[in-house]
Amino acid sequence: MPLRTQIEVKEIEGVLNTVLNTKSPPVGRCRLLSSGFNPAHALNISENISGHKECLACGNCIDICPFLSREPSRREKTEQRTSMALESIVGEDCDLCDACILVCPQVDTTIKNYVINHRMVEVMSRLEQRIGDEDELDLDLFLEEALS
C-alpha cells in the first residue's frame, strides 16, 4: 500500500538489479527501496505512519514462494510470516522467480512493473532447460504431475 508518489526506478536501478541478482528472496530489500505506507490505508491512530516501510507480516511472500511450496517443512523453522522470515528460511535456495516482490503490498508498483518488464526475460532463460526437445515431453509436465 505504497504512497501515491512512488519511487522512480531509474534512480535505484543499479541497486535494484544487484538485489534482484542476489540469490536470496528480494522482497524485503525491495520493500525498503519502496515509498512506504500510504496513510489512506491506516486506521485512525494518532501516530503518523505515513512512509513507514515495515513488513506488514501478511505472509503473502511465504505463501507464494515456490521453493517453500516444494519444501514446506522449512516453514516449521519459524511461526513468523514476514519477509525477514522468508529470507532466513529460504536463503540461497531462492529460485529468483521474483514472485514475492509481486505479491508484497508494501512494494511500489513502479518496482513491480520494472520486474515484469525487465526481469522476466532472465527468469525465462533459466527455465529453458526444463523444456524438452520437440519430440519429448518438457520436464515441467513431470514436476506438475508430482506436485498436483
Binding site: C58, S73, R75, I131, D140, L141, F142, E145, S148
Partner: protein
Amino acid sequence: MDFEIPQELKMVQSLVRDFVNDQLKPLERDIMGRATDLSDAKMSLPPETEEKLVKMANDIGLWGVNIPEELGGAGLGTLCSCLVEEELAQTVIPFNFGDVTPILFHCNVEQKKSYFLPVLNRQRYAYLALMEPGKGANISSLGTRAEREQDHYILNGKKLSFSKAGRDYFAVVFAATAQGGTKDGVTCLLVDKDTPGFSVTGGEEKTGWRAQEEEPMLLSFDNCRVPAENILGKEGKAFHLGKKWLPSSRVIRGARCVGVAQRLLEEAVTQAQSFQSFGQLISKRTSIEAALADIAVEAHAGRLMVYEAAGKADNGEPIRHEAAMVKLFTAKMLGSVADRVAYIFNGPPCIAGLPMERLCRNALVTSTIELTLELQRSIIAKDILKGLKV
C-alpha cells in the same frame, strides 16, 4: 467449426454437477469452519465420508472417468475430463473421481494387477517420487541412483513426495541408472512398501492451504533391492512415460481454473445482490457491474481455450503450445478474477472467514504449485519463432 459439446458429454457434465451440488458443496462448512472462526475447520474429509462419496461415485459410474478403457476406466477423453474437472473445481472439497497418474498407465499386465488396479480401487496408494530434497526444480540430474546387479537394482537416495498418504503404498521412483545422470539415463522403478531399506517419514497435514496441501513425505532408499521386473516402461526412458497423456493434464488443470473462476463469479453475484452500501445494493453500482462483466468474459474466454485444446487432444493432434497457452491464460485469468472478487467483497482475499477466501487461496496456489508461467511463455514463443501461426 463446431462449438457444441457432444450430448453424451453434456450428460456426464450434468451428472457431475448434481454430484457436486448435492453431495460435496453441503460439506464445505465442515472443511472451511464457521465464518470468521477457523478453529473447527478440517484439513480433509473424514474417512467414512470419503468412503461414502467414493461408493456413490462408483454407483453412478463416475469412478475412473479419465482412465483409458484398456486399463479399466471409462476412457472418456480429455474434453470429458475437462468438463468433470471444471465441475469438481467449483467446490473446495478435496475429492476426485479416481485420479491415477498417467505415468502408471504404462504398467505391463503383471504390474497392472499388482499396482495400477489397486491404486484405482483405492486399496493401495502410489507415491510419485520424483523431486529430491534441496534439488529444487532441477530434475534433469537426479541424486537418487539405481545400480544394476544381476536381476535387481540397488537403489540409494532420498525423495520428496506430495502424494496422499495411505496404509498400503508403493513408490514410483525416478532414479538415475548406471548409464548416466542426465534425463536420458533416468529409469522409473516401482518399489513396494515392504522392500528392506525403504522408509517413509513426515506427511502430516499442515496448515497453509487447508485441504489442498500436505507436508511432503520424505522417502529414503538405503540399499533397496528392487527386482528388475519392477521397471516401469523401459530402462533409461522414465521421461518418455506418459507421453500420450501428460500434455492433456495441463489442459485439464486449465479447466480447474475455469471451474474456480465460475464459482467465484457465483459467489460475487450473491454478494453483489445482497450487500448494501449507502442505502443501495452494490450490484446497482457501475463499478461492480464492470467487475462482474470482466470476470464473466475472462472465465468464458478461458473455457473456450480449454475446450478447443481438449478437442484437439481428443482428435490426436499435438497440443504442446495450445496446452501452454491454456495454462498461461487460465492461471493469469484466475488471479485477475480473484482480485476482482476481492474488490466486490470489499476486502483482501486473504482474510480468513470470508466465503471466497479458500477459493482465492486455491487460485493463488494454482499458479505457484503448478510452477512457473514463464516456462509456458517460452514454449509458446519458441513455437512462434519456428513459424507457428496463431
